[in-house]
């Protein structure tokens, strides 16, 4: 990569780093990270004992790529405040993964590259009153039955799918469609961002090509980094908030991580093409092609994106239903309640304080979690006094966390925090360093039951390829953009 210039960050406080304004940037870049996390982000690959390849700066490049991407986002018209990077930031395309930016509704733009291909990739967590020991007694059997009940893998799902007409309803109604069809109960709906149904969804703006990719994939987990995990509540940091969230020490929690599958991917791809036809190729980064928010094309993208958002909500709702059925079979009188469903890849119009005044802005989160604090109307009434639940999954075999949204997040991160551990190692490198057998041994040694459609994926998702999730949530908590509520330990994992 010729022309690559090593970028130096300016430390603002213990957990805040700035990329000063330069060449064409409208605002500074701001990275939320600790010294430990910044070393990976800033590109000191030597710190991990991995030398750069002789004669190339490829390895180096990939490590600073996320900072370049933060800087590129700062160049977009109408961006407000700063181009933000959450503690788990890593290289994406267009925006970095872990990138957050807010845009003025009149002057600003919307970019499919600010949302990503897996529109509304997200995660939901379910609380149960099942004791760890009762689950452990039947763990292998339960995991296997869930594995059989939840379709996964690539391509079309193996269940019937929906008709074209039904799919349009799904795109408009999201989780509500699923509940109407018997996949869940009405109470599930309020415990989702957007109540599981994003407004403004217009199926006319979704191409037939995107719809045909979605038809057979509704209610399927997919593969890759998507997973379903059963955990126990290991530690409670905030009793009062945990109680509000329905989380109790020693009980079983289920996490479901997936997105809008091929439908969302195609929506992103279609609109990148349409944006380019209208506005030309974006010179900074082709994935950052954008349209004014209020333009016809900008509005059409947002209408199509909302459809993909709803597809993903419905998808997670159906998967939750399959899981609930299995748990109810093994524990007939137990409760299995949705704690919350959060979106990782999304653009939303939200009200924030800008220059001391309330203002509606378009916030794009790409690989970041909304972390709205107490009092916000968007937070379901049941949680409004304590802030929304923020669900941060770890990597395979490591702890996951539940946090609560904060007032500080509203002040410094447009109500956002991290979404996971964040990768530090390429898949390629993962294959050099880890083996299938090694990863399985490691899971075994941690007493984690595991089932997957194919074991190959597990090497690329080995815990060692991710940042330390403990450090990511520590930064979130100490900086105050998401407060720790509970720590969860994995017991059983299903991957597509």
């Amino acid at each position: 990569m010729s022309g690559f210039v090593y970028m130096k960050l300016k430390k603002v406080s213990d957990f805040e780093w700035e990329i000063p304004v330069e060449d064409g940037m409208n605002v500074p870049g701001r990275v939320f990270a600790s010294e430990e996390l910044i070393r990976d982000i800033e590109g000191e690959s030597a710190a991990r004992g991995i030398p750069s390849k002789e004669g190339t700066s490829e390895k180096f490049h990939s490590h600073q790529a996320s900072l370049e991407q933060v800087r590129n986002v700062a160049r977009l018209p109408g961006i407000i405040g700063a181009s933000l990077a959450m503690p788990d930031v890593h290289q994406g395309y267009g925006f970095p993964i872990g990138g957050v930016a807010a845009f003025d509704l009149d002057e600003g733009v919307v970019s499919p590259g600010g949302v990503g291909f897996d529109i509304n990739c997200g995660i939901r967590a379910l609380s149960t009153d099942v004791d760890e020991k009762d689950f452990m007694a039947k763990r292998k059997e339960i995991l296997h039955s869930i594995f059989r009940a939840v379709p996964s893998g690539v391509g079309r799902g193996r269940r019937g799918g929906v008709s074209k007409k039904e799919l349009d309803e799904v795109l408009k109604l999201g989780s509500e469609w699923a509940v109407k069809k018997g996949f869940g109960v009405a109470e599930d709906l309020e415990r989702c961002e957007e109540s599981g149904k994003m407004a403004g969804a217009n199926p006319e703006f979704v191409s037939d090509r995107a719809k045909s990719r979605g038809l057979g994939q509704l209610g399927t987990l997919g593969a890759g980094n998507h997973f379903l995990e059963i955990q126990k509540v290991e530690e409670i940091y905030d009793e009062k908030v945990a109680k509000k969230f329905g989380i109790e020490k020693g009980k079983i929690i289920v996490m479901i991580h997936c997105g809008s599958r091929g439908l969302g991917h195609q929506v992103a791809s279609d609109y990148i093409k349409r944006f380019e036809e209208e506005y030309g190729v974006c010179e900074i980064d082709r994935e950052l092609v954008s349209a004014p928010i209020g333009s016809k094309l900008g509005m059409e993208y947002l209408g199509a994106m909302a459809c993909a958002v709803n597809f993903a909500f419905c998808n997670r709702q159906m998967i939750m239903h399959y899981v609930r059925e299995q748990l109810r079979y093994y524990f007939p009188n137990s409760s299995v309640d949705l704690i919350y469903d959060v979106c990782h890849n999304i653009a939303k119009v939200e009200e924030h304080i800008v220059d001391g005044e309330k203002k509606k802005v378009l916030v794009m989160r790409k690989g970041a979690t909304r972390s709205f604090g107490p009092g916000r109307v968007e937070v379901p009434e049941v949680y409004r006094k304590v802030g929304q639940p923020v669900i941060i999954p770890g990597s395979m075999g490591t702890s996951s966390y539940i946090l609560a949204g904060t007032k500080k997040a509203m002040e410094i991160s447009f109500g956002s925090t991290a979404h996971g551990a964040g990768r530090v190692m390429s898949r390629h490198e993962a294959w050099d360093k880890f083996s299938e057998k090694g990863v399985i041994e490691e899971l075994k040694s941690k007493d984690i039951e595991f089932e997957a459609g194919s074991k190959k994926g597990i090497v690329e998702e080995a815990p060692g390829v991710y940042k330390d999730v403990d450090e990511v949530v520590r930064v979130s908590d100490e900086l105050g953009i998401g407060k720790l509520v509970a720590k969860l330990k994995p017991l059983a994992v299903m991957k597509g």
Partner: protein
């Protein structure tokens, strides 16, 4: 007709090359399909054809590769090999053979092809074996692509 995988923190990046643009496209499809199916052998049961029209070479490659993801998601079809491929300007016609994906267990979900760090170039090899940009019509074709996985 060759391809190799390159370093990328989060996604899959590859370089593919060929002595003609068709060969390079076939190599790129090989890299994509290896990412999806690993080393599983796919039987040649069904034949399908498709065409792509684009505005430039990058978009042509993007749309060509995306077609394989579309076939997998929408038609549950996994490619075994490319039977024929003709590229003319920014248009192409392609015939593929493959099988129903339900007959196999797959590894990675490729979510999308991306324009991130994408390049499509015709190059010359100089004396040192290093690649250099060139304009002659007999130069090799090389592309780099990042897949969102």
């Amino acid at each position: 007709m060759t391809y190799e995988f390159l370093e990328h923190t989060a996604d899959v990046k590859f370089r593919a090359e060929g002595s003609t643009i068709e060969e390079m496209f076939v190599a790129a499809a090989g890299a994509l399909n290896e990412t999806v199916r690993g080393d599983i052998t796919i039987l040649e049961q069904v034949e399908k054809s498709f065409g792509v029209v684009a505005n430039d070479k990058e978009s042509l490659l993007y749309d060509f590769l995306e077609e394989f993801l579309f076939l997998l998601d929408a038609e549950n079809f996994v490619v075994s090999k490319i039977k024929s491929l003709e590229v003319e300007g920014n248009k192409l016609k392609c015939v593929v053979v493959g099988d129903d994906a339900d007959n196999y267990k797959f590894t990675n979900d490729v979510k999308a092809v991306t324009y991130s760090e994408m390049s499509v170039k015709q190059v010359l090899r100089d004396d040192g074996g290093q690649m250099a940009e060139g304009k002659t019509s007999d130069g090799r074709w090389v592309c780099e692509v990042v897949l969102d996985v």
